[in-house]
């Protein structure tokens, strides 16, 4: 199959070259005809259009397919979100139990800034190290507070994540 194609292509090219060989000396419509210009242009623009038209069709369908695909998950998500809301409320309660002093809030904010420079999942030693070189005071006890308040939570893979919502609420 590829062999046949190759032969075809070869033939077509020889054919083209025959035309082209004199192209340099021709001008105007003659030159366009000689170089097969009209055909090439029409083929060319057709392909550009078919490419982008088919892409636009696929994308417009993709949107619907994904919507369908996501629908069940939305339903599930509906229940989940209720649950997680409850959890959130519980967390909210826990957080309220720890009233932060003004300077503690400051520290939390500084940690938040540091956390933004890290990957989503970061190691505790890394965060501590950063805190130390950034001159945050009492990094260990502060980190402890963060863990208690669940601002920093384990991802259960040995790494930790920063919970933006919780930290925002805490420093409000």
């Amino acid at each position: 199959m590829p062999k046949r194609l190759l032969q075809k292509t070869m033939k077509a090219r020889v054919f083209c070259n025959n035309f082209k060989s004199g192209g340099g000396h021709l001008y105007g419509l003659e030159s366009i005809n000689a170089s097969n210009g009209w055909a090439i242009s029409i083929v060319g623009i057709s392909i550009v259009f078919s490419g982008l038209v088919s892409l636009s069709l696929v994308i417009s369908q993709l949107y619907k397919v994904l919507a369908l695909y996501e629908d069940p998950s939305k339903i599930t998500a509906f229940f989940k979100s209720k649950k997680s809301k409850k959890v959130d409320e519980k967390e909210g309660e826990k957080i309220i139990t720890i009233v932060l002093t003004r300077s503690q809030k400051e520290t939390v904010k500084q940690f938040a800034l540091l956390a933004r420079t890290l990957d989503d999942h970061f190691s505790l030693p890394r965060l501590l190290h950063l805190a130390q070189i950034s001159g945050i005071k009492d990094p260990y006890p502060s980190l402890n507070i963060l863990l208690k308040m669940r601002i920093v939570e384990s991802d259960e893979n040995g790494f930790f994540m920063w919970k933006n919502e919780v930290s925002d609420r805490a420093v409000r």
Binding site: S41, F49, L66
Partner: protein, 376 residues
């Protein structure tokens, strides 16, 4: 010692100069001026302009100084241009900084990016008519794609002897988009059309954004395999960006990597414009055809938008058709500006980005098609 002084003097630019070098040095300075003082695409015009200075210092041959001498440093750096390596790397970076959301929100606007490519093929015909060979004509036509790296890539593959003039023409006209497009836009649209407000685009999910580069790449390259080097890198870069987990690679692609490729491409393309090989009637024809190409592409985009309005329920502002030429993001900015002149509260920028980025895909496909039809 006198002989040595004389000998050295005969090797200086003061002895070797030629009016064509001086002309090109002045052109280089004009490029630098336009880039810095007028802020026309400075990231391209300044490197190319300084490259013109470098390429037009009158030098003696044999030492390995000039860009066309083997073993010269410039020759090594130029290798990435002649072999078409820099353009895909630049496309990787462009992919890693492009947001296709507006396109995904309203895929029909993609047609405008296709329509503007008509300029490419009309210029191709024009170049044939002016006596260029088929491969040269194809390379000249792609100037209308308004995409520097694409133009350089195709020219490197089809007509390497024209890289200098075609690259310079492509980048000059891209820089002059704010000058070339507005009059055409006003000529071809009524005030009422220019006042049309676009519908707010729907929100696009992350999942769509991640799937888009994959689908776009596979589909377009199945259709036009020769678009692979450019589209492949564009879509790869975009996937790195949208995947989030690969953010660090996307950051490098859209900062150091694209910057290094841009610096080296710009300065060597500029340096390839040595006066004695650059200032020819062919170059003049290329510049004329290039300007034509830009104008025709703009017009095609606009008119196609007007045709689409005959079929669409919610009309689109035909101005955004002009952004289909690509020249990202200048062209979209010009659309926005022209729109705001009629109605300062009409925010067209975001909408113009859709045809704008699809113009990049469109001209990459056009380049692929022309490459495969024209290669020996």
């Amino acid at each position: 010692m006198d002989a040595l002084f004389l000998d050295f003097y005969h090797n200086t630019g003061f002895y070797l100069w030629d009016y064509r070098y001086i002309i090109m040095i002045i052109v280089g300075m004009v490029f630098i001026y336009l880039g810095i003082a007028k802020d026309y695409e400075p990231l391209l015009l300044v490197p190319i302009g300084f490259g013109m200075l470098i390429g037009n210092i009158p030098i003696f041959k044999g030492l390995g100084l000039g860009i066309y001498e083997n073993n010269s440093v410039l020759h090594y750096l130029y290798f990435g241009v002649t072999q078409g390596i820099y353009p895909p790397l630049i496309f990787l970076g462009i992919g890693a900084m492009t947001d296709f959301s507006t396109l995904l929100a309203r895929p029909v606007l993609m047609l405008l990016g296709a329509a503007a490519q008509m300029g490419v093929f009309l210029t191709f015909l024009g170049a044939l008519a002016l006596g260029f060979e088929g491969n040269e004509a194809a390379a000249i036509g792609i100037i209308g794609g308004a995409d520097g790296p694409t133009a350089i890539f195709l020219t490197a593959k089809l007509a390497p002897h024209l890289i200098g003039p075609i690259a310079v023409a492509a980048y000059s006209y891209m820089a002059l988009v704010p000058v070339i497009q507005p009059p055409i836009m006003k000529l071809l649209t009524t005030r009422k059309e220019r006042l049309i407000r676009m519908e707010e685009p729907r929100d696009v999910t992350k999942r769509e954004k991640i799937i888009f580069p994959i689908v776009a790449f596979v589909l377009c390259c199945f259709l036009a395999p020769a678009a692979l080097p450019l589209l492949g890198m564009l879509c790869f870069g975009n996937l790195l960006k949208e995947a989030v987990v690969t953010e660090r690679l996307a950051v490098t692609a859209r900062t150091s990597l694209i910057d290094i490729a841009t610096i080296l491409l710009g300065v060597t393309v500029g340096a390839s414009t040595q006066g004695d090989v650059f200032l020819t009637t062919a170059s003049v024809k290329i510049f004329v055809l290039g300007a034509l190409s830009f104008g025709v592409a703009t017009a095609c985009g606009l008119l196609f938008a007007k045709i689409m309005n005959l079929f669409l329920k919610t009309k689109i502002n035909p101005l955004i058709g002009a952004a289909g030429v690509s020249a990202v993001p200048d062209s979209a900015r010009v659309v926005h500006m022209v729109g705001q002149r009629e109605d300062p509260t009409n925010f067209l920028l975001m909408h113009a980005m859709a045809p704008n980025v699809s113009g990049v895909i469109g001209s990459a496909i056009a380049a692929g098609v022309l490459w495969s039809l024209m290669a020996h």
